[in-house]
Symmetry: C4
Subunit: 378 residues, 4 copies
């Protein structure tokens, strides 16, 4: 008589992580994938905080559409090609990554963890992947960079302040701190109307915005918080200005139209990020996965394309790559991990995606990211 | 430490309105959009009154299809065009409007508010938009016009009485009172079979029909109430007759077929109104949003096209405009606002739609109504 | 102040009927359409009897598909054509009908009413439409014909007995009794596997089969009941034989394929009946409404086409006619009416469909059945 | 008065079987089809055991898609062709079968029955069909072959051990024991990530793996259980090697792509098995029924194609055959039968499918398997 092992027993489980934070508790019933993690966090967070993260604009059609677009894609796996060794590594604008999954900029991590983005980046560092840090971070960009040392994989998500001096001050600080690219948000000229937050009657929250502990020289007042996250006057001219102002690569995030993608590259962008802000801005905006193929076709390889929105499983990563993304970014999942267990939680989210992607690549007959092509899509 | 404001805190909220009518109550949990307003009104109105407004013909397939048609459309927003200033204003048959949203003719406002259409038009006036007043209004057309002074934006929805003298008398009164267009209903030769009303065993209701307090000279009897809302004998010849009988613009409402749209203009219509009567007449009639593009194409710009049916959000307005509508009209939402808080409620419905449309335009890269084109539809 | 009548108050209501059978009861809450009637009958009948009627074969995919096919069709109504007078009458194989709705053959009416088909045909007679009587009727074909006097509108649904003498005896009797056509069932070579009946463990039922009270001359035994309803050996040759054996029109029922439709006419059929036996035979068979257009196209007007399956509303009738049916037949609805109130119930089902069809025709711009064309389908 | 038999009373019922195992119990309410059998087994098995069998990888999209693909197909039955005699028999790689339904390889039958595959094959033998036995069987391949005597219809499902000597030893044993083909699994280079099992915290199970009671000559250790079910290094070269190593037919199982199907035949496969491992490996893999037509077209008749995944009813078998399958295989249903009543349960599952297929063929106008063609698909 020999042991028969139940299937999948060796694949990474979130419960191992969760257990270490609930000493003595039984691991049975703990989340095993990101969807279950979200449910577990739901039980832990205050409802309005959960809603702020999970919710989107209007009727949340785009939030749902982002997920539904993955549910509509089916795979045609290749078999018998030998997948004992798989290489998930890739690189983005010169930064080597352990896998084609990065952290999307999301604001105010202090909402769910006292050390905020400092914890988040520690999780990303262990997973050897990149964090695009929001300009609205609780911790300052320097603190975050220090936590990511000695090998920071960081991009700075730059909000254009109406006062250009403030913007230049931020660029300079990001460069100094070792950030390796600047991300421009194109889809937030104004804030989306988020029905859940209105319903929850969210009041202003006393939360540090880390990058404004001091003010730039010659600036005495930088206005209310709205200025930190939106700028209705932003145009392509600002992208061109930024391109001329820094030697760092510039990424334009929030593109859904092929013509805008071409415009971005013409304005100097080094990468295009297909995003609808996780459905938090224009409700009814097309699902990112549905927008991706036309953007990829229009760019024809001129610059890499990043996709975010709805990525929750390793097979989702595989699908996005097969449709032409160079990498995907996850937003809410990093916050679920952070809320559950700080840096360990973030790392665990990334490890779960990595485990799932590794298995998906093996089962789809891909030994490396280069093997992922459109013929995998049914 | 600085304040971090929750997203969307500045966007208009219905609860502010509702609060003012429920003194001392908490605004938390009050409706923030029109769908929630409807739910709140549901709790307030008698069920059969709610059903009379919310319901439609037969199995209510068309009621649902009108909404579902919006749920199927997704947007391709344009970015980085500079949207600090947005202009939502437009004009319809010479009437300037603050936005491309008007009030569709709906009967018997006295059902939900003692002052009926007089309150409704006050809300529309504050919002600087147009009300198409039903011929079956509880208040007389003159009372409604007086309430809209000094700058009435009113259309009269003309029912053709079997006795032409009655019809001419109504036309004359509308012209005298300052109504700026006449609307002919094409989709009500008979009343639709409304299962909810039959189920609720609705008995005749003692409710004033404002336009018949007196009778025209030489007419002693105008028949039962059915004559006020339907006319099975109506034909294109009557439209031609009306065109010759008045100098006011004539609008034909209830068009779903491209050939009928062309017929309407050939008969002298100055605008075509794509409508299925909110799904209250022919159950199974095509959704108006689905019918719209072919009508727009057939008319080829000869006259403006109005659409109603299923508009509940600012993004819905954007979609209808992108598909070729010059303006949209809302029916049931005005009654939910009226039922909840009279003129303030109507105004609030319009303000909510305006706020939502303004944000949607900003996020879609539209500085004015003229910027809304079909390329926005995915 | 004048009366304002609630919409639809004049349209026929089932509750008026039901009320007359529940004296003193309130009409409020009684069924107003056939779907509600079915729910009411559900409460009245023994579950297994209800299931026998309502159920279908296997997973009942075809039962649902028949209804779903109607739910997918939308109408493009024509307006302003003048519909004060509508003519719903038509004719089928020489039989004048008050409307293009007939009763499909359904067996064993004695299950839900002691007088069975005699009551059913009385309802059909009042409605001036045709009943196709099942060969498995509880009452004899002669009793049914007598109840339909003096102007019987009857077709006999002929099961081919393995012993041809029995079949000839039935043909002779139907001709003698005044039946005006013979219907051959093509879709019942064996009985479908009906999971609900198996689940309910239905035992043989002591129920009269009216046509076999006596036996034909020279026949002493006609076998078990299976012989009365199925015949696996039946082929097109038998249709040709029947064509040569009778002067009555021959209708082939149970056709779903265009090639079979042509084969039927080539074998001498005077009408083709598109049916999947209400989903009671081959589960997964295509919905009849989906099969109809190709059959109509293949026949190209050579013979009229009847459709059954899923017709529950007047708008369904309109859709089937627009797709090329000369008439539709209803199966289960007649049994719901019969179960609820005998002949009055059957009549009421037919009156409801007639009222609904009349309103639908008015709203779609059809003054007569001839005005119903494919341009009505969106 | 004569008996009227309720429809379907003669069709096989699972309850007759179940009754014999629950003496004295009422047959009423017992499962009548495989879906109900699954529900009944759910009540009987420990939840985690049920989940291990019923569940799949990830979000179980492919598990659902396999079923949904059947639900999307509708049939165009042929009528009046004479179906009194139907022949369901066929043959696969020289093995005559009573019907085109075989048992797919599924591991560890000891989980649900102490005699495991020995019971399963007895059920298959009574039904005169073929069992493809998993290499991970609880009982040894020799024990299973003995139970299938004197006319074994067996295929051996060969896992390629990293140590080729182990693989050769298995091939030799299968040939000696009378297995008539070898099946290579192409879709299990690694184990799928099965969320239900992770959630249930499945611990290693002490369960015999029958084929390894002894070890091959010269081998002292064969590694952990993972080696018995997966081999990430497997390539087409191994298929070619196997083809040269045995005179038995070789079947490649787990093909979804047309190009892989051609590669399989080029590598020497005698049959191609379209499978996604019942949705237990790559979640998001295309439904097998959706993949089938392109594979059939690419192979153009060079070798027979087997399909598994989602077959639960006789009409499913008919659909798969109409789309080009030579036979279908069932996985989970055999385990439901085995769990419920051992060999009798397995036999009953096969008898139910046979009864349903026989009725479906009659109703679709097919006298033999050869009559099933693509014109049956709507």
């Amino acid at each position: 008589v020999r042991d028969y092992y139940w299937a999948g027993v060796d694949a990474g489980r979130v419960w191992q992580l969760v257990t270490s934070h609930h000493e003595g508790g039984s691991p049975v019933g703990q989340p095993v994938d990101i969807e279950e993690l979200e449910a577990a966090v739901h039980d832990k967070l205050e409802q309005r905080t959960f809603d702020y993260i999970a919710g989107g604009a209007g009727a949340e059609r785009t939030v749902r559409a982002n997920r539904a677009a993955f549910a509509r894609r089916f795979l045609l796996p290749r078999v018998l090609v030998g997948v004992a060794e798989r290489d998930l590594s890739t690189a983005l604008l010169g930064t080597p990554l352990s896998m084609p999954v990065i952290l999307a900029p999301t604001g105010a991590h202090g909402l769910v963890h006292p050390d905020g983005e400092v914890e988040t980046v520690r999780g990303a560092a262990v997973a050897s992947t990149l964090m695009a840090v929001s300009g609205g971070s609780t911790m300052s960009l320097e603190e975050i960079a220090r936590a990511a040392s000695p090998r920071p994989r960081l991009w700075h998500h730059l909000y254009f302040h109406p006062n250009r001096a403030v913007t230049e001050w931020l660029i300079e600080r990001a460069q100094q701190a070792g950030y390796s690219a600047l991300v421009v948000t194109a889809d937030a000229p104004v804030l989306g109307r988020r029905d859940r937050d209105l319903r929850n009657n969210l009041a202003p929250l006393q939360l540090r915005i880390g990058n404004y502990d001091s003010l730039p020289p010659g600036v005495s007042e930088i206005g209310d918080s709205t200025s930190f996250v939106t700028n209705p006057g932003l145009t392509w001219t600002d992208v061109t200005w930024l391109r001329s102002r820094t030697t760092l690569p510039v990424v334009v995030k929030g593109i859904l139209r092929p013509d805008d993608a071409v415009r971005a590259v013409d304005a100097g962008a080094d990468a295009v990020w297909v995003s609808n802000h996780g459905g938090r801005q224009l409700d009814g905006a097309v699902a990112t996965l549905d927008a991706l193929p036309a953007v990829v076709a229009a760019l024809d390889g001129r610059v890499p394309v990043i996709q975010d929105g709805g990525v929750r499983r390793g097979t989702d990563v595989l699908v996005a790559l097969a449709l032409g993304a160079a990498a995907v970014a996850v937003g809410r999942p990093q916050l679920w991990g952070l809320a559950m267990a700080g840096a360990d939680g973030v790392q665990h989210v990334l490890r779960t995606l990595r485990d799932e992607l590794s298995i998906a690549m093996a089962l789809a007959g891909c030994r490396s990211i280069r093997d992922v092509d459109t013929s995998l899509i049914a």
